[in-house]
């Protein structure tokens, strides 16, 4: 679509097109979109980092030790991958609401509450895919690490390194689930943007929902395009990091 047709449909301000045509020059109002992208990334990246920090040890323990209830736990993790995000949102809302167990912390309608709900959403996905990845590592390689003088931790690190492609897939799946999810962040975050146009808890997804609610489908589509670009960019970055760098 051309800029003028977009402006003309969204608001009868066709003349303004002349003001905003130059490339690479954000008008002042870009703070709105930039802050939304920032909130989306901040919440999802932190949630996924926390999830990964929890998921990897859990996957290693579940993958390489025997204990009663292991099968039950594994199927619980797999079930958790499909847990509806609105239900997670409700549960987190009850938890952080001032009447809930974490009420003292005053987390309702904050980014922290959104991080909690996305953490709950992303962790089963990251754990389940990591579990499949680490258990598919050749047990001979674990023996080799031990034979060369490795401690249990060294063996675990070798396992993670050998399973790195699967783990990167797991992290990306978790990130994809987190950043594209709208139900829970809307409930616990409240979709708040300040009167100055700076997002506090508005993410790309909840902003899209808001625009669609008001019938501004073009605007919603453009925000959707930004969301897709953000997801693709993060995927490319993470895959690149996984290919070389630390994981060498």
């Amino acid at each position: 679509m051309s800029p003028c047709s977009a402006a003309a449909t969204v608001a009868p301000l066709a003349a303004d097109c002349l003001l905003v045509t130059p490339l690479f020059e954000f008008p002042f109002e870009s703070v709105y979109v930039r802050s939304i992208v920032f909130v989306s990334l901040y919440v999802s990246v932190l949630a996924v980092l926390l999830s990964t920090a929890v998921s990897l040890p859990v996957a290693l323990v579940v993958g390489f030790s025997e204990f009663p209830g292991k099968r039950l736990l594994t199927s619980l993790i797999n079930t958790g991958m499909g847990f509806p995000s609105v239900v997670v949102g409700l549960l987190v809302l009850f938890t952080v609401s001032s009447q809930g167990p974490l009420g003292e912390l005053d987390l309702v309608f904050t980014k922290e509450a959104m991080i909690i709900s996305q953490f709950v959403l992303a962790t089963p996905a990251i754990t389940a895919i990591s579990l499949a990845a680490v258990t598919s590592v050749d047990s001979n390689l674990r023996d080799a690490a031990r034979a060369l003088g490795g401690t249990r931790l060294d063996v675990a690190l070798v396992t993670i390194k050998e399973a790195r492609y699967g783990i990167v897939t797991a992290v990306l799946a978790g990130f994809g689930r987190a950043i594209s999810e709208v139900g829970s962040v809307l409930i616990v975050g409240g979709n708040i943007a300040g009167a100055d146009g700076v997002s506090k808890t508005r993410t790309l997804t909840t902003a899209i929902q808001l625009e669609a609610r008001q019938g501004r489908y073009e605007t919603a589509m453009i925000l959707g395009g930004i969301l897709v670009v953000v997801v693709l960019a993060v995927n490319a970055l993470v895959v690149r990091l996984g290919d070389d760098g630390v994981m060498r």
């Binding site: 001979n140 080799a144 031990r146 060369l148 050998e162 760098g245 630390v246 060498r248």
Partner: protein, 271 residues
């Protein structure tokens, strides 16, 4: 050095680099059984455990490598009972032993990173983290020991090759260098050449001999009598989880005391 049958034949030794199993028994529960076996290796000698497949050679090596605790008997390293000390002391003992398996089991990394692995995990965590961060920024500079160990097996030119790009023989040679790089007192090799062509086999056998000459005690498990004859100072014949007979290589091959040993070395006993 002592290779013998039963606890009575074993001895306690305190000399440097002596790894000794005395009267060990072990049962995995899957038929891989070792029963009342004694075997010791001193620094600088090459001991070959010979026997057909499935007689417990791998199990015996697992006991010597301190992977498994024997059901009965002791494994001592320089007089220290490895299973009477705590885990960190046992780790220190384990770290003086190198193990090479039948499969190369190389990590998915460059040749240099593979060979450096044993050195890397022996460093302090602080150094390891610094190295990891450093390797993100610039290229690795593998320590001299890595290059040296690789040159023993003729792989020094392949430092930067990915392990996955090597042939089976090359990979096994790198695997050998990986166990040699951190300068162990004892090397345990489980059928190290059974999948290799004659040329690569020769490289490994030369490396074994060289390791012995450098003062490393080497235990090789093999089903290949000719190999035993080429490299062994001492031979122990393992059959059905027990040592039939042991002694200097020539004595065993020229003048076997046990009838089954004679049949085995003459190729009549086939399992």
């Amino acid at each position: 050095m002592t290779v013998g049958r039963g606890r009575a034949a074993s001895r306690s030794t305190g000399s440097a680099g002596t790894l000794e199993a005395a009267g060990v028994s072990f049962d995995y529960g899957d038929g891989a059984v070792v029963e009342d076996v004694s075997l010791a290796v001193d620094s600088g000698e090459v001991v070959v455990v010979i026997g057909p497949s499935g007689v417990g050679k791998t199990t015996l090596l697992g006991l010597l490598a301190l992977f498994e605790r024997p059901d009965d008997g002791t494994v001592t390293f320089d007089g220290t009972d490895a299973w009477a000390v705590d885990e960190s002391q046992r780790l220190a003992l384990r770290r003086r032993i190198g193990v090479v398996f039948q499969d190369a089991n190389l990590f998915d990394a460059s040749v240099a990173r593979n060979v450096e692995y044993g050195l890397r995990i022996r460093r302090s965590w602080r150094d390891r983290i610094r190295d990891a961060l450093g390797s993100v920024i610039g290229p690795d500079r593998p320590p001299g020991a890595v290059r040296e160990a690789l040159s023993v097996v003729g792989m020094a030119d392949d430092l930067d090759s990915p392990a996955a790009s090597l042939s089976g023989g090359e990979a096994q040679r790198v695997s050998f260098a990986r166990a040699l790089a951190y300068d162990p007192d004892v090397l345990l090799l489980d059928e190290p050449t059974s999948d290799l062509d004659p040329r690569n086999t020769a490289v490994i056998e030369d490396a074994i001999t060289e390791a012995g000459e450098r003062g490393i005690g080497v235990v090789v498990a093999t089903h290949d009598m000719h190999q035993a004859r080429r490299i062994a100072d001492r031979v122990a014949v393992l059959l059905d989880g027990t040592v039939l007979e042991s002694g200097p290589t020539d004595a065993i091959f020229e003048n076997p005391a046990d009838e089954r040993t004679r049949k085995f070395v003459e190729g009549e006993l086939v399992y």
